[in-house]
Amino acid sequence: MTDRRATAQRFIQALPHAAALGLEMEEIGEGRAVLAMPYDPRLIGDPATGVIAGGAVSTLMDTASGAAVMSHPTGPRSTATLDLRIDYMRPATPGQVIRAVAECHHVTRSVAFVRVIACDADESRPVAMGTGAFTLDLGR
């Protein structure tokens, strides 16, 4: 598992924009990924409150979702987002890490379906939830 996590972290580091956001892979495997985004003042969307921009949260959730698809036991060669819908329930608390948990809950030969949830330190009240459809290239 540690090897796989190290591999996954290298994978994230190889994505320039994920690296720019400082995303950290915490868990990955079996179609599930946990990705963390440290609080960073460069990502503030509302200077009056210090709340992180929705776009940065979207990027975290999209990246976690893609990683979940890539870790599916069917062994996809590549994936791309077809559609992603995100509901923003509340602003993330400034200063806290935002963590996305993505689960690839169903795959067909060509499509992967993902649920993703983003939380800050208060995990009982999600910041955002999303559902996505991703392309799936099984190389067969």
Partner: protein
């Protein structure tokens, strides 16, 4: 002679750290607002193609919708430009955003424009389109709902 609204757009873009992080610019063209995202390597999500990160595309659409809502009010203001009033407008809050990825965003400049489908007292529904070289060849589109102001306290 610079239109004061252009100055305000420039100040708005400069005042939001995340827009500076992305390098996003706001421009006025024929009374419409266009977001311009100049290409830079850090926007890449898929280094193999290479393609823009899907999150960057979502961010471009969301920011364009939000600024489009702010702009709608500014553009319809009558009388002399009131910078203080413009700056005091609350930032619309994203309720939800659905992004339709039509083709990979290529390693070049990207543009987006918002169409406000419905804007009421509290809620707005906005459609946003994003393109690169050819305005009619979209690489992504999105629809979002935004909260313009909270319900009055009872």
């Amino acid at each position: 002679m610079t239109d004061p609204r252009d100055l305000h757009l420039a100040e708005l873009a400069a005042s939001i750290p995340y827009l500076r992080f992305l390098g996003l610019e706001l421009r006025r063209a024929d009374e419409r607002l266009i977001s311009v995202l100049p290409f830079q390597p850090m926007l890449i999500g898929n280094p193999m193609l290479p393609a823009l990160h899907g999150g960057v595309t979502a961010a471009l659409l969301e920011v364009t919708a939000i600024v489009g809502l702010l702009w709608q009010d500014l553009a319809s203001d009558e009388g002399p430009w009131n910078k203080a009033a413009a700056a005091a407008r609350p930032m619309p809050k994203t309720i939800d955003l659905t992004v339709d990825y039509l083709r990979p965003g290529l390693a070049r400049d990207a543009f987006a424009a918002a169409r406000i489908v419905r804007s009421g007292r509290r809620y707005a529904s906005v459609h946003v389109e994003a393109w690169q070289d050819d305005r009619s060849r979209l690489f992504a589109q999105g629809t979002g709902h935004f909260l313009l102001r909270e319900a009055d306290a009872a």
